[in-house]
Amino acid sequence: MEDNAQAVLDAPVIRTKKTRSKTWRNILRNWQLYVFIAPAFLSIVIFSYFPMYGIQIAFKNFIPVDGVWGSPWVGFDHFVRFFNSYYFWDLLWNTLSISLYGLAVGFPLPIILALAFNEVKDGLFKRTVQTVTYAPHFISMVVMAGMIITFLSPSSGMVVHLIEAFGLTAPDFLTDPRWFKTMYVLSDVWQSTGWGTIIYLAALTSVDPGLHEAAILDGASRFQRIRHINIPAIIPTITILMILNMGGLLGVGFEKILLLQNPLNMEASDVISTFVYRSGLLNAQYSFSTAVGLFNSVVNAILLILVNQIVRRTSENSLW
C-alpha cells in the first residue's frame, strides 16, 4: 500500500490512468457484488424514484389516458388552490399541533423511563417490567384503534367506568373534537414509550463505571449522578432522535388518525396526510392531492435540514 502511494507521488502523470484501471479491475473482480445489490437498487428505483418522477402531476392536470408525461401543465394552480382553501389553516394547525403535542409529551418520557430502568439492578422485577412495557409496540394500529374505541365507548368503556368511579362525568372522547388530540397522544405514549427506552438504555451502557465510582467517592447522590453523568452521556442519542423527529413533524402517525377519524371529530382530526388520502384516492383528485402531499414533504425536508443545521452549529452531533 505504502509503496504504491509513494509510486503515485513520484509519477503524478500516470496516476489517473493507473488508479482508473485499478478501479475497473476492482469492479470486474467484484461483479458479483453488483448482482447482490441489483434487486434492492431496482426496487428502490421503481418504487421510490418513479413516484418522485410522478410528482410532476402536482404541476399538471393529470389525465389518466394521457399519462404522467402527456398531461397538460398548469403550473402552481393546485398549490394556490390549496393555500387559498378554507381548510388550509385548519389542516396545517391540526398537523402541527398533534405533532408538537406528541413530541412534547412523548419525547421526554422514554428518556425518563430509561434513566429509571438504569437505576435498577438486573433481576426479575426489571426484566418483567421491561418485557411488559415493550410489548404494546407490537400491537397493530387496527387493534390499537379498536382498543381505544372500545375503552372510550361512552356506555361501556373501561376508561369511562374508571372516571365515573372517581365521581366525575366522562366526556365523549371519540366524538368531541376537543379530546381528539389528547386521546391520540396519550394512546401513543401508552404504545411506544417502553419501546422507545431501548435506544437510550443502549446508550447508557456505554457510560464508564469509573465515572460513577469517582462520583460516589466524592459523595454524589444518585440523583446528582444521573444529572451529571447519565444525562450528558445520552445527549448525543437524544439529539439525533430529536432531529429525526423534527423531520417527520408534518408526517404524524397517519394510520392511527385515519382509523380514529369520524365525521364528528373531523375538525380536530383531519391532518394533511389524511386529507391527501381522502382527496387523492377516494375522490380521485390525483393532481391536487399530489400537490398537497408535495407541500407536506417539502416542509418536512426543510425542517429536517434546518434543525440539523442548527444542531450542527451548536453541538458536535448531527445527522450529516
Partner: protein, 301 residues
C-alpha cells in the same frame, strides 16, 4: 467496590421512588391488556356495567366461539400468514445481500448506492404517485402490491450493513480471496452462516410489519377474499360491522345473551386476543432479538 459504600438515606428514598415509578408504568401498560383478556371471557353485561374490572366474572367462551365460527376471520388469517411468509422472504432476499455489498469497503460505487438509498428515507413521491405506479404496473388487487413496493427497507438495510461491517472480520474476506473464493461462495458459505442473528432480527422486524400492515391492503385490495386479518379486524373493531355469518349462525345463542351490542363488544375483545395472540406468544422468546436489532440500529453507521 461500589456496594461497600453504604447507600445514603437520600439515595434510598430516591430508589424507592424509582421503584414506585417503574411499578406504576408496569400497571399502566399491563392493566388494559389484562382487562381485555378478562373481558373476552366474562359475561358481557358485567363488563358493560363495569362490575368486571380485573379478573373474569361469570366466565363464558361465547366470544371465542363466534370468532372461531367466522369464516372471514379465518380467511384473513390464512391470507395474512401467506403475505407475511412471502413478504418476509422477499424482504430478506433483497435486503441481506445488498447490505453485505454495501458493507464491503472495496465495493466501487458504494457511496453512490448509499446516497440513492438514503434520499428515499427523507423524501418520497407520496401517496398518489405511488398508487398510480402500482396501478400502472397492474399490481392492484394482487398480493404483490403489498409486498413489492416495500421490498427494500432502507432503515433495515443500514442496520444490516452496520452488522456486517462490525461482525464479519475483514481478514476472513482477504483469506477467502487468496484461496480464490468467489464473492458468491464467500457470501453463502462463510458470511451467511455467521449472520444468523441479524437474519433472525430482520425476519422478525419484517414479519411483524407484514402481520400488522393494513394500509396498503386497504388501498390496493378490492376483493374481500384477499383481505388480510388486519382489514377484517378493521371492519369489526373500527367500522363496527359484525360479520354477517357470525350473526346468522348464532341466532339461538344470541337470544340467551339477548343484548346484541353487548355480544358485539364480547366478540371485539375476543377478536383482539385472537389476532394479537401469535405475536404476543412468541414475543417474550424473541424479545432479546428485537432489542438487539434496535441496538444495532442505534449505532451510527
Amino acid at each position: 467496590m461500589i456496594t461497600t459504600i453504604k447507600e445514603t438515606k437520600r439515595d434510598r428514598f430516591f430508589l424507592t421512588c424509582n421503584y414506585i415509578f417503574l411499578f406504576m408504568a408496569f400497571v399502566i401498560v399491563a392493566y388494559p391488556v389484562l382487562y381485555i383478556i378478562s373481558a373476552s371471557i366474562s359475561n358481557p353485561k358485567l363488563v358493560a356495567s363495569g362490575e368486571m374490572w380485573l379478573w373474569p366474572k361469570d366466565i363464558t367462551f361465547e366470544g371465542y366461539q363466534r370468532v372461531f365460527r367466522d369464516t372471514q376471520i379465518w380467511v384473513g388469517y390464512g391470507n395474512t400468514i401467506l403475505y407475511t411468509v412471502i413478504g418476509t422472504l422477499v424482504n430478506l432476499i433483497v435486503t441481506i445481500p445488498a447490505a453485505y455489498a454495501l458493507a464491503r469497503k472495496d465495493f466501487v460505487g458504494r457511496n453512490f448506492f448509499m446516497a440513492v438509498f438514503m434520499v428515499t428515507m427523507f423524501f418520497g413521491g407520496g401517496l398518489v404517485p405511488t398508487y398510480l405506479l402500482v396501478k400502472n404496473l397492474g399490481l392492484v388487487n394482487s398480493m404483490w402490491a403489498l409486498i413489492l413496493p416495500g421490498a427494500t427497507s432502507v432503515w433495515n438495510l443500514i442496520v444490516c450493513r452496520t452488522f456486517f461491517q462490525s461482525a464479519i472480520p475483514k481478514e476472513m474476506q482477504e483469506a477467502a480471496e487468496i484461496d480464490g473464493c468467489s464473492n458468491f461462495r464467500l457470501f453463502f458459505r462463510i458470511v451467511l452462516p455467521l449472520s444468523s442473528s441479524i437474519i433472525a432480527v430482520m425476519a422478525l422486524f419484517f414479519g411483524v410489519g407484514h402481520w400488522n400492515n393494513y394500509f396498503s391492503a386497504m388501498i390496493y385490495l378490492n376483493d374481500h377474499g384477499k383481505y388480510p386479518l388486519q382489514l377484517v379486524l378493521r371492519q369489526i373493531l373500527v367500522l363496527q360491522e359484525m360479520s354477517a355469518q357470525a350473526g346468522a349462525l348464532n341466532a339461538s345463542t344470541a337470544t340467551a345473551l339477548n343484548n346484541k351490542a353487548e355480544v358485539a363488544a364480547l366478540v371485539k375483545y375476543a377478536v383482539i386476543i385472537v389476532s394479537t395472540l401469535p405475536v404476543i406468544i412468541i414475543y417474550p422468546f424473541l424479545q432479546r432479538y428485537f432489542v438487539q436489532g434496535v441496538m444495532i440500529g442505534s449505532v451510527k453507521g
